[in-house]
C-alpha cells in the first residue's frame, strides 16, 4: 500500500485497515487500507464495478438497509471502530452524511426536506428550524433560488437543484463527514460545475469523500485521489501527483484512458 508523503497538518478523520467486504459468497472488496484526512476532499476513482461505491457506503453502513452484508477488518472514525458492537448506527449516520448518485428528495416540500433531519432529532421550535433550514440552503448555494417557494414540492425542481437540496438536507443535521456517490452523474455540465464549486466551499468545515467516474472532476475538486481496481486499492496519493506522476503503471494507464 502506498500512502501520501507530503506533511499533512489536518488530523486523520477516517482510517481503514485491512478491510474486506462481501455480499453473500461474493467478495467485493479485499485488503483495503487507507487514511482520510479531515477538511480535505478525497476522491475515489476506478472503472465501474471496482467496488468504489460499495466502499463509500461502508462509512455510514447504509448498505445494511437493503441486504445482508459482511464487513471485515477495521474502519475507524476519530479512532472509534464503527463496526464495533456497541456503536449506534443511527447516530453514525447523523455524523456521516451522504449524497446519492441520483437526487432523492422526499415527496415533500423544499422546506420539509431540509427540516426532516433536525425534526428526527427532536427540534420542534419553528424559529430554530427556520434558521437551520436557511443556513443549510445557503451553504448548499440554493437559498436565493428557492427562498420564495419553500412550501412548494421538491419534485418540481430541476435535477441540479434537487441534488443541491439533497446536499442541504444532509448539511442540516451538521455532519462531520459528507459522502458523495457520483453526485453529478445525473446532471448537466452547468449543474455539475455548481456542485463542484460547492464542494470547494464545504471542505472548509467538512471531511468529504467523493466517488466519481469522471477523472477531470476528481482532478478539479479533490486533494487526495485513490484508484481502485477489482476491489483493491492500487494507489492513493495527492491528487496532483496521481494525475502527473503516478507511481504505479496501472494508474497511469487508467487516467490516460488506456483501459477502464
Amino acid at each position: 500500500m502506498l500512502t501520501p508523503t507530503l506533511p499533512e497538518t489536518k488530523p486523520i478523520k477516517l482510517s481503514v485497515r485491512d478491510m474486506a467486504f462481501s455480499y453473500g459468497p461474493k467478495k467485493i472488496l479485499d485488503g483495503l487500507s487507507l487514511d482520510i484526512h479531515a477538511e480535505r476532499v478525497t476522491a475515489i476513482i476506478g472503472p465501474s464495478g471496482c467496488g468504489k461505491s460499495t466502499f463509500l457506503k461502508c462509512f455510514n453502513r447504509i448498505h445494511e438497509v437493503a441486504a445482508d452484508v459482511n464487513v471485515g477488518g477495521d474502519i475507524q472514525i476519530d479512532g472509534v471502530d464503527i463496526y464495533r458492537g456497541g456503536i449506534d448506527v443511527v447516530d453514525l449516520r447523523r455524523r456521516v452524511g451522504m449524497v446519492f448518485q441520483k437526487p432523492n428528495p422526499f415527496p415533500k416540500s423544499i422546506y420539509e426536506n431540509v427540516a426532516f433531519g433536525p425534526r428526527l432529532f427532536g427540534v420542534k421550535d419553528r424559529a430554530t428550524l427556520d434558521g437551520i433550514v436557511e443556513d443549510a440552503l445557503r451553504k448548499a448555494a440554493l437559498w436565493d433560488e428557492v427562498k420564495d417557494r419553500l412550501k412548494e414540492s421538491a419534485s418540481g425542481m430541476s435535477g441540479g437543484q434537487q441534488q443541491r437540496l439533497c446536499i442541504a438536507r444532509a448539511l442540516a443535521v451538521n455532519p462531520e463527514v459528507l459522502l458523495m456517490d457520483e453526485p453529478c452523474s445525473a446532471l448537466d455540465p452547468i449543474a455539475t460545475s455548481k456542485i463542484e464549486d460547492l464542494i470547494g466551499e464545504l471542505k472548509e468545515s467538512l471531511t468529504i469523500v467523493i466517488v466519481t467516474h469522471n477523472m477531470q472532476q476528481a482532478a478539479r475538486v479533490s486533494d487526495y485521489t485513490a484508484f481502485f481496481w477489482l476491489g483493491k486499492l492500487v494507489e492513493m496519493d495527492l491528487t496532483e501527483r496521481i494525475f502527473t506522476t503516478p507511481r504505479v503503471q496501472m494508474t497511469e494507464d487508467y487516467i490516460t484512458g488506456r483501459f477502464g
Binding site: G117, L120, G122, V123, G131, D135
Partner: protein, 293 residues
Amino acid sequence: MNVAVPVFRRSRTSKVVDRLMRGVLWAIALTFVAVLILFVGAILKQGWPVLNLGFLTKMPETLDAGGGIKPQIFNSIYLVVLSLGISLPVGLGAGIYMAAYAGQGRALRFLRLCIETLAATPSIVLALFGMIVFVQAMGWSFSIRSGALTLALLNIPVITRVTEVSLLAVPRELKEASYGLGATKLQTILKVALPYAATGILTGLVLTAGRAFGESAILVFTAGTNASAQFPDFRLTVPGETLSVHLWYVTSDGTLPDAREIAAGTAAVMILVLLTLNLLVRLVDRAIRRRTR
C-alpha cells in the same frame, strides 16, 4: 447568517420508540400467524370426531341424527367443474383480448374498470342477479344450471385478470421470434404465448377453484339448499346443495339434532380440501421456479 446549530443527539425516546415499534410490528405479524393456527386448529379439532368414512359416504338425514355429506361433496365438485367450464373460455378470451388486442388506450382502461368492478361486486349481489335471471326469468328454479352459471360470474374476472397478467409477462423476444417466422397473430398467441403463460394461468385457475368451492351466498339463492336423493345425479335441472351451503343451512335451520357435529365435520372437510389445494399451488409454483431458474 451564522446560526447556532444545535448539537443533534439521538434522544432516548427516539431509541425507545424505534425498539417499541419494531416490537409492535413483530407482534402484529405474529398475531396473524397465531390466529391462523388457532383457526385451523379449532376447526379441525371440532370436526375430527365426526370425520369418518361413514360421514363422507352417507346420504344426509333431514330430521334425524347421523347423516352424511356424500351428495354435497359431489355437488361441490360438480358445480366447481361446471362453473369453471363456463368461465374458462370467457375469461381466457377476454384476457387474451386485453393483453393482445385492446391496445393501450381508452378501450383497455374501460375494460379494466369493468373487470375490477365485477371482481369487487359482492357475491350476494351476483346471487340476486342469478336469482332474477336464471331462477325466475328463465324458469330454471333452484338448480345446478342456475348455480353453475351464476358461480361462473364470480370466476370470470379472476380468470380474465390472471390470463392478462400471465400473457403480459411473456417475453417480447419470444413473440417477435414467432412473428419473424411468419406466424399470424393468432398462431403466435396460441402456440407461443399461451403455452408460456399456461403455468401462471393454471395456478390462477386452482385458486379460482378454491374460491368457487368455498362460495355460499351465490349458491343459496341459485342452486338451493336441497340435494338430490339420487347419487350421483348429473342432471342440470335438480337442486344442488354444496358443502358450504350445507354448512350454513344446517347451522341456521336448526332442525337436525346433530347440526353442530355435521357443521363441524363439514367445515373440517372444507379446510382440508383448501389446505390441499394451497399445497398444490405451492408445489406447482416451486416446480416452475426450479424449471425456469
